[in-house]
Structures are given as C-alpha cells and as structure tokens.
C-alpha cells in the first residue's frame, strides 16, 4: 500500500489528504482538474512537502513530519512521468536513457535499457535530439527513461494530456505493454475517462485531495452520487463483456453484457476478447414496453434501481442490467408521464452509434 496523510495548501483551498492506494497494476487517480491529483503524486515522490504529512510506501516510511523523517526524492527509487516530458534538452533521446541507466536502482537487475528500448520501440529515436522529437515520441522516451531507472513505483501525471487524439492512440498501447510486461505498480493521474477505462485496474476518485470513491473502473463509474463530479457530459458507465460474434455484412459486433446481447458498430477484436465500452447517460433512453420500428437496435431489459430528480428539466435514472449499472438521462417530464419508479422493469435503449469508438480497448489484450 501507498499511504499518504497530511495537509496540503493550494492557492484556493487547503485539503486534508488521506489516501491509501494499492500497489499492483495501474491505479488510476481520477477526478476533475484542480482537485489535487497531481499534488498527490508530487507528495508521493517527495517533490512536494505539504504540512504535517505522513507518507508510507510498502511499509517503508518516506515522510513523517512529526518524527522528522523525510526521504529525499532521489533516494525513493520512484519513476515520474511528467505531463511535459521534461527530457533533458542537452542530451539526445538515448542520452536521456543513459542518464537514468547510470543512476538506476542497484537493488533490481531488470528491466535493462535494452529491454525498455525494445518494448517501447525506441531504437529509431535514440540518436535524435530532444527538440527533434514529436510530442508523442518525447513522451514515449520519457516513459522509457523513467522505467530504465528501475523504479519500485511509477508515477504518471497525465502523461497524454498534452497530446492530440491521434498521438494518444499511438502511445496507449505502449502503456498497456508496461502494464502487461513490467512488474511495476503504477499510479496514473488522469481526468480522461478514455484513458481510465482503458488502462486502470483500480480507480481512486479524487475530490478535494481525498478519495471520494474507489473500486474497479465499472464499479466507480456506476456510482450515481458521483454524477455531478464526473461532469454532465461525461456522466455514464463502463460496460465490460466478451465479443460474441462478428457480422461482416453489416460490420457489426455482438457483445455479451450480462445475459443479453449488445450490438455495436464493428469492434476490431476476436470473439472471446473482453472489451470495455463507455455508455454515456445522455445516449440511453427508456421504454416501458418492448419498442418496435425504431432505428435504435439495442433494447435491453433492465430494472430501475434509483431515480434522481434534478432541479432543472432533467432526471438521472440508475438501471440494473443483469448486474451491470447503466445510467440514463431523461427529462423529468418523461419520468412523470411514463410513471417511472424504482423497481420497474423497463427497456434501456442504447444508441450504438453514440458509443465513442475511441473508448474501445485494443483487441487481444484482455482475454477471458
């Protein structure tokens, strides 16, 4: 476990930090900007001191202000991937890796520089000067540099946020490889649901420096009470299920969600591959009877588990779809006219074209 407690002063507010993060796989620190996610990483790395703080990593105390303990950042054996790559401009890309290799953790034998170069396909970049790298390439080198130092813990601070969508898509598979091939726990700060749903094994939802909710990605996304936090536009859930079949004629893919079938525009994955998709609340409608003659092909049986009426025109409805949570955003008027209430069996209409294709993880990585 990584345990952090203490007080951090921000320009606008003071936050009491109390975070315990598991140290396995990729742990996503998720939440809106300005809620102290980056500061948590800086506290973990020792780049930020805070006030009266306590930081413990895997049983080892890194900071304990009450007892005057503070382990300097360079002695913590952590890797840090910054939002801006922070590659050293006076060295080549390869020189940056060498810099890390020279000071690498002597307590571990691997990964070696060569392994990292292979894993992240860095060989063609090594001789280049830092300013000749594209944003995506620079970030890849920065990830490689952090790994070459053989850290016990890798901290990644929104490593993709300065990149455009295409560059992000280029790098995501590499971060997935880090997860698959390296035995290094990762704390990954992001405010992007895309990255979170694709990468994280465990999520801590960060609000005011503290953990508002935690759990697996689908679990956290289903929490109705977190809706306003995630933002209206982003409100939705993550569904996870295996690919059942591909329909080549119409380029459609069948996914098993619970006991039902969700038909999606073509997902490039073998049958049996687990995929995650994100369904936004605003793309889910509700019918009280099985609909006919609709262009929406997905009408899944679900039970209403909760209805939250908002002040304005809208209401959020939490549905139970064979054990999966699903959120629907409808008008209050519809709730009244259809006499919707908790416990009712309804049909959830999911517009398949609305599902953002970027959210679909690359095939073959998560087999059942």
């Amino acid at each position: 476990m990584l345990i952090m407690r203490g007080t951090i002063r921000f320009p606008e507010f003071t936050a009491n930090v109390d975070v315990s993060a598991p140290l396995s796989g990729i742990v996503g620190l998720f939440g809106p900007s300005g809620h102290g996610k980056t500061t948590l990483l800086r506290l973990a790395s020792g780049l930020e001191r805070g006030t009266d703080c306590y930081v413990e990593h895997d049983g080892e105390i890194w900071q304990d202000d009450r007892n005057g303990i503070f382990v300097q950042p360079h002695k913590r054996r952590i890797g840090f991937v910054f939002q801006d790559s922070r590659l050293f401009p006076h060295l080549s890309a390869g020189g940056n890796l060498d810099y890390a290799a020279k000071r690498a953790n002597p307590g571990r034998a691997d990964p070696t520089r060569g392994q990292i170069v292979d894993m992240l396909d860095l060989a063609p970049l090594l001789h280049r000067r830092v300013e000749e790298l594209s944003g995506g390439e620079a970030q890849r080198v920065a990830i490689g540099r952090a790994l070459v130092s053989r850290p016990r813990l890798l901290l990644m601070d929104e490593p993709l946020s300065s990149l455009d969508i295409r560059r992000k898509m280029e790098i995501l598979p590499y971060i997935e490889r880090v997860r698959e091939e390296m035995d290094i726990p990762v704390l990954y700060v992001t405010h992007s649901l895309d990255e979170l749903s694709r990468l994280a094994d465990h999520v801590l939802l960060i609000r005011n420096g503290g953990v508002a909710a935690e759990g697996s990605v689908p679990e956290v996304m289903q929490r109705m009470d977190l809706g306003p936090m995630l933002g209206r536009f982003e409100a939705g859930v993550i569904l996870e299920g295996p690919v059942l079949a591909q329909d080549a004629d119409f380029s459609m893919t069948d996914l098993a969600i619970g006991k039902q079938v969700l038909r999606m525009p073509n997902i490039d994955a073998e049958p049996g591959t687990m995929v995650r998709i994100r369904v936004r609340a605003r793309d889910v409608s509700i019918a009280v009877e099985e609909p006919v003659g609709l262009s929406i092909r997905n009408a899944l049986r679900a039970r209403i588990s909760d209805i939250v009426l908002e002040d304005g025109a809208f209401a959020e409805i939490l549905l139970d779809l064979d054990g999966f949570g699903l959120r629907a955003r409808v008008t209050r008027e519809s709730v009244a006219l259809l006499k919707l209430e908790a416990g009712m069996n309804v049909y959830a209409l999911i517009k398949s074209s609305a599902i953002d294709r970027r959210l679909i993880p690359g095939g073959g990585k998560r087999r059942i």
């Binding site: 790395s45 020792g46 780049l47 300097q72 950042p73 360079h74 002695k75 054996r77 952590i78 890797g79 840090f80 910054f82 801006d84 922070r86 590659l87 050293f88 401009p89 006076h90 810099y99 890390a100 000071r103 690498a104 953790n105 300013e131 540099r145 952090a146 130092s149 901290l155």
Partner: protein, 225 residues
C-alpha cells in the same frame, strides 16, 4: 611597444583572467541561491550584488582602500598572515576587481538558472540524481550560455575598469599598472601616440567581445524549455 606597455597588457590579462575564474566560482552558488530562494534575505543580497553597477568607482575604491589598507579589517589580517599589505598589491587589486565585477558574473548566471527553472531538476531527482549531481549534470549544461556570458563579461569589464584600480592599486609598474592606468599616464605625459596605440587596442577588443556575446545569444541553442 614599450616594455612598460607590454607588462601592462600582460598584467591586465592576468587580472581579468583570474577575476573571471574566481567570479564564476563564487558567482555560481550565489546566482543559484538568488534564482531559487524564497528567503527574504534576497531583498538585501540582490541589490548589494548590483551595487557596483551604479556606485561611482571612486566610492567603491575608497571604501575598499580603507578595508584593504594595513589598518583595515581585511588588510590588517592579511598583514598579520602574510607580512605584506593588500592595498597597492596585485592581490588587493584582484579582490577589488572581484567585488567590482560581481554583478557582471552573477546576473547572467542568475538569468540562466531562472530559465532552467526547477522542472529538469525535479526530473533528475526522480531518476536518482542527488541535488549536486543534478546541478552538475543537468542545470549547468542547460545554463552553459549563462556561464560563457558571465565569464566573457567579467573579463571585459575587468579589462575596462579604471577608477577602482586607481584607488586601490595605484600605478605601480608590473604590479598594479593595468592598461587603463597606462593610458591615463600616457595622456598625462602627453604621449598621445602611445595612448592611441593602447586605446585603439582596447576599443577593438571591447567591440569584439560584445559582438561575440551578441552572436552567442542569437546562435547558441536555446535549451531551456
């Protein structure tokens, strides 16, 4: 050229070279501190460093003369230690030059360190580099332009000083008579040809130095960022 002028030139080069080396050594930690500290002490130290820019050289020279003289705090101690006086000696001249040229070393370094910022130092720390290691292997190479500018400006400024040298060093051939003093003496004795020879040399030298600094700032890779 007379042997006197030649020795004045050699003495000037020796003084300027030694001043540059000492000032880069002293100026580096001072500039680093000024560019990173949040201590209120900087509101005193920073203007104190800049003082020689605005103070008449005679004022500075006057106080240095008192301080370095056999009755002064430093000069007295020096006499006890070495048996020689600081005032009107090369060592005294060197101390005066170091103080007089301090801002010319500190300010370019401070600017360079400020533009390096803390970003790369933090990255180095997370890669296992101690603060000193990170300073030597990351901040200094990135700030290399600041070092060159500091050394060149210090050198040139020391070559061009007059007032402080006259006050502290006087005009002793082969000990404290530098080029600018030699020119002054040539003019005093109406030896205009000799004065011309040295003056035009200094003029060309100064111009070339400033040109080199300008080109350096335009051409050298901008590395901060």
């Amino acid at each position: 050229m007379s042997p006197g002028d030649l020795s004045a030139i050699l003495l000037t080069l020796k003084l300027a070279g030694a001043t540059s080396v000492i000032l880069v050594l002293i100026g580096t930690p001072l500039a680093w501190w000024l560019s990173h500290t949040r201590s209120r002490l900087r509101w005193i130290i920073e203007p104190a460093v800049a003082l020689p820019l605005v103070l008449p050289p005679t004022v500075l020279g006057f106080y240095l003369l008192i301080l370095l003289g056999p009755a002064g705090a430093i000069g007295g101690a020096w006499v006890q230690l070495t048996g020689e006086t600081l005032a009107f000696s090369f060592s005294g001249l060197l101390i005066a030059s170091v103080i007089y040229s301090l801002p010319f070393a500190v300010q370019p370094l401070q600017t360079a360190f400020q533009s390096v910022g803390t970003r790369h130092m933090e990255a180095a720390a997370t890669l296992g580099a101690s603060p000193l290691d990170a300073f030597m292997t990351v901040a200094s190479p990135i700030a290399i332009r600041g070092y060159i500018t500091a050394a060149v400006l210090t050198f040139a400024h020391t070559v061009g000083e007059f007032g402080v040298v006259l006050m502290v060093g006087g005009n002793i051939p082969e000990k404290t008579r530098v080029i600018s003093i030699a020119i002054f003496e040539h003019v005093e004795t109406l030896s205009y040809t000799e004065a011309h020879r040295l003056s035009i040399g200094l003029l060309i030298f100064s111009f070339l130095v400033l040109m080199a600094v300008t080109i350096l700032h335009r051409r050298a890779p901008v590395r901060a960022g």
